[in-house]
């Protein structure tokens, strides 16, 4: 088998032509999928990166604040560090839920229509 690109599909499903891809890319249905994905993923990515950098900067330049004791031997620094873990888990869970509810059905509808060649 040759390895030219794009690689030919090995599956029995039909690979749509470039014209079909362009038509779908310009369709309203795909536009909706794209914008709902981008409007969710892009700002969220920006948000968690900013939150992480904020935490790094606080660790670097706000030592006194970070050293403030909150409860027992837990200070602000340790608590915010653990909060990074918590927010990472929560964002992952939120993305998975949103993707399953909002992106997957749209994506599957487009995919099955294109591969069936309807």
């Amino acid at each position: 088998m040759a390895t030219e690109t794009p690689p030919p599909s090995k599956s029995p499903t039909r690979l749509p032509s470039t014209e079909e891809f362009v038509a779908v890319q310009e369709s309203a249905e795909f536009g909706e999928l794209r914008s709902s994905y981008r409007n969710f993923a892009f700002p969220l990515t920006l948000a968690f990166i900013v939150w992480y950098l904020l935490y790094v900067l606080l660790s670097n330049y706000a030592g006194d604040f970070m050293g403030t004791k909150l409860f027992g031997n837990f200070n602000v620094a340790m608590t915010l560090g653990l909060a990074q873990f918590l927010t990472t888990f929560l964002i992952a869970w939120w993305y998975a839920r949103t993707a399953a509810a909002r992106f997957d059905p749209k994506a599957e509808a487009i995919k099955s229509r294109m591969e069936d060649g309807a």
């Binding site: 088998m1 362009v22 993923a41 968690f48 992480y52 340790m78 990472t88 992952a92």
Partner: protein, 541 residues
């Protein structure tokens, strides 16, 4: 008893019980070799060799991704850094974890939908194949070799400390052994064998960390606040041990270095080729998403446990004893095992041996994953698509991959022997910086920016790569400090150890500049294909 005597005792125990360590390690090697041969028999076509037949489940691959990611640097390096620097060591693990969100939200699923075997598949999808694949292959191999060096150096350190082998020839022998084993895993077992080895290793590593965490918490009646307090007291640094600044807070430069490191960690993961190709081992993008979710859960839980291990080591072992054993603290976790079991008891020896064998297994599995990533990229991107211009048969491509494995194995044995005294965690951080500078910008632009062109990709990959590697070359990592690779000469002018703060923006910027300066029109049809495919999975294999 003085700390020095304590250390000697620990070392004595270690060498006395090295037979046990060797037996446990041999059991792991034997078991993984059986798996490899079994997987090798089932490896028939290129999809088996490169992508494990794409039949792994999301959970299996999540376990394997965790296995690939939790390297010796995470296990030994982070536990050690926490044991010595308290809170500042903890900062490392946070960057390593948060980074997975970039992979989850932006990279894993589109990559699974549009690529086939390598990172280069996605980078070159809408571009002129030969130049972009050459660039992608080059940066894949450079990143993987940086990472391999770190693991090889880690193997050397670990062995000299735990088995009492201190002679240079002994350390080189161990590096060679690791190299030969990884060549065997990859050439015979391909991705299928390597994936199973990762899974076994991940289970062992998590089980080992769970056991130690349980024993540490038991000592403190499951009161984490007490554990932190004892760690702070025993460290001799008091409350400062739980606050930022012990490692990175010294001067303005070290603070800047820490920001640089932080950026490299959080943006590097989604550009690591050996992690990215794992997403091809599952049948669908949904399964790829599930893999990342499992990986985030497992890796997050593991890093929370390293917190208990690091602070546990700080609380239970005198700091001089940790640094006497290894200046960077790399042996804190094994020492902790010895202390938890009882320094003079058999339990201590058995725990030490178990944890040491787990650490070996960790190194072995990670190097296998790295070797596979670089030899796949050589065979698929450079040999099949650049040299043979897409005319190679599947058989030729697979044998090219096997030859490349032997070649890369030989190179890394050689470099590993040279790098055996370098700082493990530092080398890994460099690999992350190079990945974030050279790979991530092109991945993101390719997927999401309509106008992006071949020149943009080449500017970004080579520009990011040269900037990152160049800055390292002229940094204190290479020369000018007692801890440098070449401490006797000084040609450094870049003050930071991690280049990320400069090289990552440069990589992103050059992608834009290269695109805007070129007169080339982006291939609209190809972008339509890539965009629709990456979001819907239409036509994915």
């Amino acid at each position: 008893m003085s700390p020095a005597q304590h250390t000697l005792l620990a070392a004595g125990e270690a060498s006395e019980h090295r037979t046990l360590i060797i037996i446990l390690f041999s059991v792991f090697v034997a078991a993984t070799l059986v798996i490899t041969v079994w997987a090798g028999r089932q490896t028939k076509d290129a999809a088996d060799f490169y992508a494990g037949g794409r039949q792994f489940t999301g959970f299996q691959n999540g376990l394997a991704v965790s296995g690939d990611y939790m390297s010796a640097a995470s296990f030994l390096g982070i536990a050690g850094a926490i044991a010595l620097f308290g809170y500042d060591g903890f900062l490392y693990s946070i960057g390593f974890l948060v980074a997975w969100l970039v992979a989850l939200l932006l990279v894993a699923e589109p990559l699974r939908n549009s690529g086939r075997y390598t990172m280069g598949d996605v980078l070159a999808y809408r571009m002129r194949q030969r130049p972009v694949r050459t660039a992608a292959g080059t940066s894949t191999i450079v990143v993987s070799i940086f990472y391999l060096l770190a693991q090889m150096a880690g193997a050397g350190v670990l062995v000299s400390l735990l088995l009492g082998i201190t002679s240079d020839s002994g350390k080189i022998g161990i590096v060679a052994l690791v190299g030969v084993l990884m060549i065997v895993y990859v050439t015979i077992g391909g991705m299928k064998g390597t994936t199973w080895v990762q899974m076994v290793k991940a289970v062992l590593l998590i089980a080992g960390a769970l056991l130690l965490t349980f024993l540490v918490l038991l000592k403190f009646d499951f009161n984490v606040s007490d554990l932190l307090g004892s760690a702070a007291d025993n460290s001799g640094k008091g409350a400062a041990f739980l606050e930022p600044g012990l490692k990175y807070g010294a001067t303005g430069t070290t603070k800047l270095d820490f920001i640089s490191l932080g950026i490299a960690l959080v943006l590097g993961t989604a550009g690591l080729p050996h992690i990215l190709i794992r997403f091809y081992t599952v049948p669908t993008a949904k399964a790829a998403r599930k893999s990342v979710l499992w990986a985030i859960g497992l890796i997050g839980a593991f890093y929370l446990m390293t917190l208990a291990l690091g602070f546990g080591a700080a609380a239970l072992i005198k700091p001089d004893e940790i640094t006497a054993s290894n200046k960077a603290g790399n042996t804190a976790a094994p020492l902790l095992a010895l202390h938890l079991g009882g320094v003079d008891s058999n339990w201590g020896a058995i725990l030490l041996a178990t944890i040491s064998a787990v650490a070996f297994a960790t190194i072995l599995a990670v190097v296998a994953g790295l070797t596979l990533a670089s030899s796949s990229s050589f065979a698929h991107d450079i040999y099949a698509n650049v040299i043979k211009r897409g005319t190679a048969t599947e058989k030729q491509e697979m044998s090219a991959a096997r030859y490349a494995t032997v070649g890369i194995g030989a190179v890394s044995i050689l470099l590993g022997a040279l790098a055996r005294d370098l700082n493990v965690a530092g080398l890994v951080a460099l690999a992350f910086a190079v990945a974030a500078s050279a790979n991530l910008p092109t991945i993101l632009y390719s997927l999401f920016w309509k106008r992006f062109t071949t020149s943009g990709a080449l500017w970004s990959i080579y520009g990011g790569l040269v900037t990152a590697v160049g800055l390292v070359l002229f940094s204190p990592v290479v020369s000018g400090k007692p801890t440098s690779m070449f401490p006797d000469v000084d040609f450094h002018w870049f003050p930071l150890e991690n280049p990320g703060i400069i090289s990552i923006p440069v990589g992103f910027l050059l992608g834009v500049v290269g695109t805007l300066l070129s007169k080339e029109e982006p291939d609209k049809g190809k972008y339509a294909e890539l965009e629709v495919r990456s979001l819907t999975g239409t036509g994915a294999h």
